[in-house]
């Protein structure tokens, strides 16, 4: 099991009801973390249009996560 801090933004923050939370997860990749948070908060956004960063660096859904990592979950972006 790994201790992962998850940070939520925009719509994800509203669904989760918190800015961030620290979870103990059996997660190998960023996708596993996303899947666990979707289950936890009952939301069902597909991975495709969302982005993820690990420790403030943009990452891929198959990027590995380590104990103590901070995973940032970004819903579909809409700048401009």
């Amino acid at each position: 099991m790994k201790t992962i801090t998850v940070r939520y933004f925009a719509m994800f923050r509203e669904h989760a009801g918190v800015d961030e939370e620290t979870l103990t997860l059996d997660a190998a990749t960023a996708a596993d973390v996303f899947s666990a948070t979707r289950e936890r908060h009952g939301s069902a956004e597909p991975d495709g249009h969302c982005k993820v960063a690990i420790n403030d660096v943009m990452a891929d859904w198959d990027s590995p996560v380590s104990d103590g990592d901070e995973v940032l979950l970004f819903p579909p972006v809409a700048g401009g």
Binding site: A10, M11, S43, H49, A53, D56, P75, G79, G80
Partner: protein, 160 residues
């Protein structure tokens, strides 16, 4: 002489993206792009408009994750200056509540010739819309609201 010009230029201005909660001043920003080697300047301003997909919009709310918006924005500006041989590129993006007609984003590019300036400006605005961690929430005249680009935002707006 050419070397001295280059050195001076690098000291005077950096290609930079800024995320700000205050109003954008396009005239002030434009001056940052002046360069003796630039014969062309092109800018883009994104404004808040009063409707989207048939819904009357009252105002927009922008949220950014600034550390990564700046990092990714700097990459986009560097890509544009490399690809199109620009003299300088600069971008500013708003956060917070914006009213109809306000400037949400400004992109400016100077380059030796107009083709490069137009292309670089277009490249930067197109890339930043899909790459920067920035989100906007539309507040509608009828009182509800929704996050733009979220596939489930309509449902979410209904529920909230």
């Amino acid at each position: 002489m050419a070397m001295r010009c280059c050195y001076f230029r690098r000291l005077r201005v950096a290609d930079v993206i800024e995320i700000t909660s205050g109003p954008i001043d396009p005239d002030g920003l434009r001056k940052k792009l002046f360069d003796p080697a630039a014969g062309a300047y092109c800018s883009f301003e994104g404004w808040i408009r009063n409707e989207n997909e048939g819904q009357a919009v009252l105002r927009l709310e922008y949220e950014a994750y600034e550390p990564l918006a700046v990092t990714e924005g700097q990459k986009i500006l560097a890509e544009a200056t490399d690809r199109f041989s620009c003299s300088h590129a600069h971008c500013r993006h708003r956060t917070g509540l914006l009213e109809i007609g306000e400037c949400a984003v400004w992109v400016g590019v100077s380059a030796p010739h107009r083709d490069e300036a137009f292309q670089a400006c277009r490249y930067i605005i197109d890339q930043l819309k899909v790459r920067l961690p920035i989100w906007k929430k539309e507040h509608y005249v009828d009182g509800h609201s929704g996050w733009v680009n979220c596939e489930r935002c309509a449902e979410h707006a209904e529920a909230s």
